[in-house]
Amino acid sequence: MKIPYYPGCTLHERALDFDKASRECARALDIELEELEIWTCCGAVFPLTTDSVMDILAGVRNLAYASRLGDKVVTLCSFCYNVLKRANKVMRDDPEKREKANLFLKADTDAREGIESYLKEDYTGQVDVLHYIEMLRDVVGFDKIRERTKADLSGLKVAPYYGCMLLRPKKEMEFDDPEQPQIFEDFLEAIGCDVVDFPMKTECCGGFQIVREEDTAVACSQTVVNSASRRGADVIITTCPLCRYNLDELQKKMEKSVTGFRKIPVIYFTQLLGIALGIDEECLDFSDNYVDPRPLLAEKSLV
């Protein structure tokens, strides 16, 4: 089965490891992620000011591209998922902004001579934005994943980190309970891990503050990492490249400032899925991780 796929900038650059693992896992589960033929950055952050039509255009344009391929689009990055889903909701619910955005898209199309018009008709939110984990649950089914799981992950204590953008705002994301989410727990249970519940799983990693005020991001990330660590996690999983970066890379700072700091690897959830499904190690690239998960995985005979 083919499903349209929007990777977003980060998965094409800094998070190639995430993109690769995710495509391989999909393939192993009989799904081909069909990358949109043209796409751009989604804008990364959804504008919270009421007058911003320009700021949602990038998201809308990508949704309009996606509508050429099918009625849904799958994405992985939490920021992309948040922006696309919220922009889509604007296109569904706000007639004034919908009209304006379509006028922009039309002007954009007209200006691109030689490129096939991507906008055949007004975009009205007809595409469903799916997160990859939702695809696993609703399209593939966790039961099928359970059946296909080859590796024995029992005893591997995994802390699922949700962060902010998947869950909030609840009314627009409609992803899971923002206080007690369950979807990654269910996923981890399906692939046979020991799930570690930790209180900071929905707290912020510091996000883009890493660019402005690194100390702030370190403080936030440290709260999250410590919490998982105290609950005995061997590894943290995430679906956001920025969370991965902050939680993993910033451990460099944490270990300097905290004596006896226990480092803990942070990997993408599809990398763990890849291990569970017995996907070729070459497809699971851990070379970019500051805290190398491979010794842990070797210890558990998983690589």
Partner: protein, 652 residues
């Protein structure tokens, strides 16, 4: 017949006259066909105003009256009585509402408001022209009351009705009466022991010659109307013949099967055959089939073997008893909003985060810890305890919009009682506003802060989580603008009060109104606070809205006095504005029977036509709208009347 109608335009001070040109209205209507007299006056509802109406009726030989004033819900009765005083049939007096429906809502456009007032009055003149003189419907009254719910409100209502000389049936779904009050440790602001003041009332109710106690029972089908209700009561199978049982307690003692005790809020266990608490009334056990080894697997049977009077009966079935009553008091009480809904406070997964009722049990001398405050996780005495108000209350975005009213006070009491048992402990109470609107309440709050060193922190806690055997509290002190963190040994949640889960179902059965949160609606928020809009139903206690014990008891007594005044008359008089079937026109399709929400429409098998039972019909009009042949009409609101009224409204 010649119409001689009087129009009386009220100024209502400036409420109407400030917007509507009342003089012009009165003048204009004087020449309207059928009007014999038209005038205006400052306050028509005053004695001189009423006399003006009476005198005009006599002097001008009026056949009908239109009082143009406020809503008929306020003064219709007043002016109908005035009509009677001048020998005019009360149903020939109508109200044209030119205040709520005109002056109050059209303050920006006075000329058009005046026009609208004229039209409203004209429609009512047209109505009066075709009104018939009616007589109220008299129905007999069965002088026996049903009280649903055996908490303190239900007990009080039952006692007061019984003491005024009438029989009462008190139905309670649990094995004992007492309700939540029986679970409480001590009560604010006097700190008297809750059970000590409640149990005498429980015993009084049980022993009262005119009160029939029906515990472990539920209200089933309800039929009839005010004065004449017929109710089926389900006696749930207790698997114990409670008439024979002596309450010796041997069965519970020997029963090998344990489960969480509801009375102890899950902090202790009870047996499968059990009395909920030592002072239970009646002090006789029931058997919980779900946890009974014999009922589940056929093994055991110890209780039956050991019972000295052979009261245990595993074959018992639910039984139904029919009762007839004239009035029903609904006192179904409250539940705490389920903790599972508060994910940011752990959703019930953190052991040392307890509900307020759990904390009552921990404080209670008869509780699972014998009154020593011990936290559930490890039984240690907590040294840092945090109390949170407004958990689920005042949160329209996620939970309940309303204030649960009593949490500020009972948490203050909790903090105080905690300090009285753990002297070196520290109590923190997070609040948004400390609401102490009751006699002696403010003083009680001041005492907690001053004498017991309870630290009141103004702010709402964002998150609770467990870490290293502590409950970490993420709060704020909004008075200094600082985020606050406390590593607490225990946290007590002042969860919102919500109506008892089964009460909504019961309200549907009884056909009484509830508000958006499921609390029973009173007929008027200020003037009829203990009656339902449906006649014959009275409200008491927290089922009507969050309230403390004094309020619940006061409301129960008020409801009882309403019942007593209903029972004081031989007959009850009902409004005659009801539906009427034209038997010649009726095709017998029975649509009216299916749409009638009160079961007033019935099918006459002999005549093959519909029939409306006068004593039940509420005059809601559903059957009239539904009747395909137009053969059902409303008295004094016929189709013809409506057409004339609409025509008058639309005329230029």
């Amino acid at each position: 017949m010649e119409h001689r109608i009087g129009v009386f335009v009220c100024h209502c001070g400036t409420n109407i006259a400030g917007v509507v040109d009342v003089k012009r209205v009165a003048e204009e209507l004087a020449s309207y066909p059928g009007v014999a007299f038209s005038t205006d006056y400052t306050y028509m509802c005053s004695d001189p105003g009423q006399n003006l109406v009476k005198d005009a009726i006599k002097e001008h030989k009026l056949t009908g009256v239109v009082v143009s004033a406020c809503s008929p819900t306020l003064h219709e009765a007043t002016f109908r009585r005035a009509g009677v005083g001048a020998d005019l049939n009360p149903y020939m007096v109508e109200i044209a509402n030119i205040r709520e429906q005109c002056s109050w809502v059209h303050q920006e456009d006075k000329p058009r408001a005046t026009e609208k007032a004229i039209k409203i009055i004209k429609t009512m003149i047209e109505k009066v022209k075709q009104d018939e003189a009616l007589e109220p419907i008299a129905v007999p009254v069965t002088k026996r009351a049903l009280v649903v719910g055996g908490g303190v409100a239900g007990i009080q209502a039952a006692l007061d009705i019984a003491n005024s000389g009438h029989e009462v049936i008190l139905v309670e779904k649990e094995a004992s009466i007492g309700g939540h009050m029986a679970q409480l440790s001590e009560t604010f602001p006097t700190l008297d022991c809750s059970q000590c003041i409640l149990t005498p009332k429980m015993v009084d109710a049980a022993q009262h010659p005119r009160i029939k106690l029906m515990t472990y029972c539920e209200v089933g089908d309800v039929a009839g109307y005010v004065g004449n209700f017929k109710i089926k009561i389900k006696k749930k199978a207790a698997y114990v013949n409670r008439d024979v049982c002596t309450g010796c307690g041997l069965c519970s003692e020997k029963c090998p099967s344990k489960t969480d005790s509801e009375f102890e809020e899950g902090l202790a266990t009870r047996k499968a055959i059990y009395t909920p608490f030592p002072q239970a009334v009646p002090n006789k056990p029931v058997l919980d089939a779900e946890h009974c080894l014999y009922m589940q697997s056929g093994k055991c049977g110890i209780c039956a073997k050991i019972c000295p009077v052979d009261a245990v009966d595993y074959t018992q079935k639910d039984e139904f008893v029919d009762v007839e009553v004239g009035a029903i008091v609904v006192a179904t009480g409250y539940d705490l909003y389920p903790i599972i809904n508060i994910g940011e406070y752990g959703g019930g997964k953190i052991k040392d985060v307890v509900t307020s009722l759990q904390f009552e049990r921990l404080l209670s001398a008869s509780g699972p810890t014998s009154g020593v405050v011990r936290r559930p996780s490890d039984g240690e005495i907590p040294k840092e305890v945090v109390f949170l108000t407004c958990v689920g209350s005042r949160d329209p975005e996620h939970h309940k919009a309303y204030c649960s009213k009593i949490c500020c006070m009972y948490l203050t009491k909790h903090a105080m009682l905690y300090k009285h048992t753990v002297h070196d402990g520290q109590a923190y109470l997070f609040y948004m506003d400390v609401r102490t609107g009751g006699k002696g309440y403010e003083e009680f709050y001041q005492r907690a802060a001053e004498e017991d060193d309870v630290l009141y922190v103004r702010g709402k806690v964002s998150k609770l989580y467990e870490e290293d055997g502590k409950v970490i509290v993420w709060g704020v002190d909004t008075l200094t603008g600082q985020k606050v963190e406390i590593a607490a040994d225990m946290v007590v949640l002042g969860l919102a009060m919500e109506p008892n889960a089964q009460a909504l179902e019961l309200a549907k059965k009884l056909k009484i109104q509830v508000n958006e949160w499921g609390f029973l609606s009173e007929a008027h928020p200020k003037l009829r606070p203990v009656e339902s809009l449906a006649p014959g139903f009275y409200l008491a206690g927290a089922a009507q809205g969050p309230k403390d014990i004094p309020d619940a008891v006061a409301q129960a007594s008020a409801a009882a006095s309403k019942v007593a005044s209903l029972f004081a008359e031989k007959e009850y008089h009902r409004e005659p504005i009801i539906a009427l079937v034209d038997e010649d026109e009726c095709a017998g399709c029975r649509v009216c029977v299916s749409v009638c929400p009160y079961d007033a429409a019935e099918f006459d098998e002999e005549k093959k036509v519909a029939h409306i039972q006068e004593a039940i019909c509420e005059g809601c009009g559903a059957c009239i709208a539904a009747c395909p042949s137009g053969s059902v009409t409303q008295k004094n609101l016929t189709d013809d009347q409506l057409f004339k009224m609409v025509t008058a409204a639309l005329e230029d």
